[in-house]
Symmetry: C2
Subunit: 333 residues, 2 copies
């Protein structure tokens, strides 16, 4: 494929220009561009520059309020809400994090619920940021429906990632993955290439396992671990949509299409002062655990690819598909 | 099999007598018996009366301090620690819950870390209790090593359950399962019956998949969802052992054998005021989600078996294997 190398700054500038040209405020465009480029740097291209055309279309149509200013609402010493104002999720997350840190320092634990929100990208990003402050962090967010309840045919739950961060040496340990066996993008790629898909990825609309990509796209994604994974996806749905008072994955519209109602998704960010709760033992205990992994043949801690990709991007820049680059460059109001 | 029907009160009295005869204090025996009988009622026999002989042996040997009195240590407004004093976990959990509720009412969110602890039984029990108070609840606890890190041959992580409770109508929604594909007990049963086990349950000591129960028992349990489930087991290990400042699953001794050092396991209980964080929307949102499940063919919410078993036990009492009953009755100091 025709790929073009961009510097990190060039990529960010390109995103900002596309988003502001579509009607986003400078500040929202900048914060959103930073999150997308950070995903691109870490190799999570599904949440990277590939989102710019659909983000722009949604700002143009008003489905995303590009000039929204998030507002913090106090709830209890350890709890607050952030109204994202039907804008992008990133400005709300950006506002939530320092407030969350303050409250964790005071209370030892705190949580923020973001509502009237949108696609929140790489859930591991805020987890990593909070872990760098010395905190254990969880991010819960739902996505439009993709997974059927165990035993059912219709999709109800999002692919609902599990995201967790913990302080560890210079780079936090970050766990971040969707609860579907694979990303939906892999099935779309198989369809485009005319390939079949392995058993265990998806069900057809009849609720039966399928190896046909086209049938899978009309059906539902299979969760990891069968009934257990489906329960985890339900847990994430409750921790995000219900706890933020936002839309269920079953109600939310597309995060890709320009048209339609705002998806009104919810995210909950939770952080814990690990050193305090462990009476000062956390740092040595997680190092002991990491040391077991390092010494064990074949074992590796999760999230290491991210760090490798980051190093490559810093040295060599970002490889962006030519057609995507052209599409972004041609975004005008 | 020869089974005997006991009333719930008879079962509880039997546990109390065995534990006090072994050297446990009245109060610790009573609290522990309640947790075991509650597990038995809910059909979770692996955490029920079957534990009484090994619990008694551990009190007799001093591996469990049967007269320990848990002590609360304040940390921050939203955090506290409970020193279980190398006693049973249940008295520490019993002490933690009302304190946790008080702090959640004040702060909106709070967490308790229990250290110098032991087998904590059905993690869904405290989750359910907290959900009945209107709170979202998580319980994190590790267990002795059973699962290998993804790609490795040696077991490092416990079967580390995920446990979650959320308020919903009269009975909370409770999610509670180990991160191994199946319970180790199923492999032990297959060995006793001379049966092979399905692919996907376990690895042999060489790190290769096995269908031989004997080989599996020398090897490691497979986590749900491959690399993702192994990461979840790691997350639970960090949230319990590291965050409580307790022993890693890789360090902890057996929860069954009478001899050996105290396992020194850790548990973390976390609760959130769901109504407050959701600005009053939680109750209606989770009802909407539950209604989707109820109307969808084939779908069912997790944890319903528990309620069915509870109803059966209330009506018909508890069916206990005759040999186990004899063994418990013969426990003397």
């Amino acid at each position: 494929m025709n790929e073009v190398t961009l510097s990190i700054d060039e990529a960010k500038q390109l995103c900002i220009e596309a988003l502001t040209a579509s009607g986003a405020s400078e500040i929202n465009a900048e914060i959103t561009a930073e999150a997308l480029v950070r995903a691109e740097i870490d190799g999570q291209k599904g949440h990277g520059l590939s989102r710019v055309p659909s983000y722009s279309a949604q700002v143009k149509s008003g489905k995303v309020n590009g000039t929204a200013q998030p507002v913090i609402e106090d709830v209890k010493p350890g709890l607050f809400r952030v109204n994202a104002g039907f804008g992008f999720a990133y400005p709300a997350l950006r506002m939530a994090l320092p407030e969350l840190c303050l409250r964790v320092k005071q209370n030892g634990i705190a949580a923020a619920a973001i509502h009237r929100s949108h696609h929140f990208g790489v859930a591991g990003q805020p987890c990593e940021d909070l872990a760098r402050e010395g905190f254990i962090a969880f991010v819960y967010g739902n996505t439009p429906k993709a997974i059927a309840p165990f035993g059912a045919k219709e999709k109800v739950l999002g692919t609902n990632p599990i995201a967790f961060g913990a302080p560890l040496d210079t780079d936090p340990l970050v766990i971040d993955f969707a609860l579907s066996t694979v990303a939906r993008g892999k099935i779309m790629a198989a369809k485009q290439a005319g390939r079949s898909i392995p058993q265990g990825w998806a069900l057809g609309p009849d609720g039966e396992p399928t190896t046909q990509a086209e049938t899978a796209l009309q059906g539902s994604m299979l969760p990891i671990g069968g009934v257990k994974g489906a329960a985890l996806a339900l847990m994430v749905e409750i921790m995000s949509a219900c706890l933020a008072g936002a839309a269920l994955g079953a109600e939310a519209g597309s995060l890709f299409e320009g048209e339609g109602e705002p998806p009104d998704l919810g995210q909950v960010v939770l952080a814990i002062d690990a050193a305090s709760l462990s009476a000062g033992n956390f740092s040595s205990r997680i190092k002991d655990l990491a040391a077991i992994y390092e010494e064990l043949e074949g074992a590796r801690l999760p999230g290491l690819n991210r760090l490798k990709n980051r190093k490559t991007a810093a040295e060599d820049g970002l490889l962006v598909p030519g057609p995507l680059l052209e599409e972004i460059r041609h975004i005008k109001q």
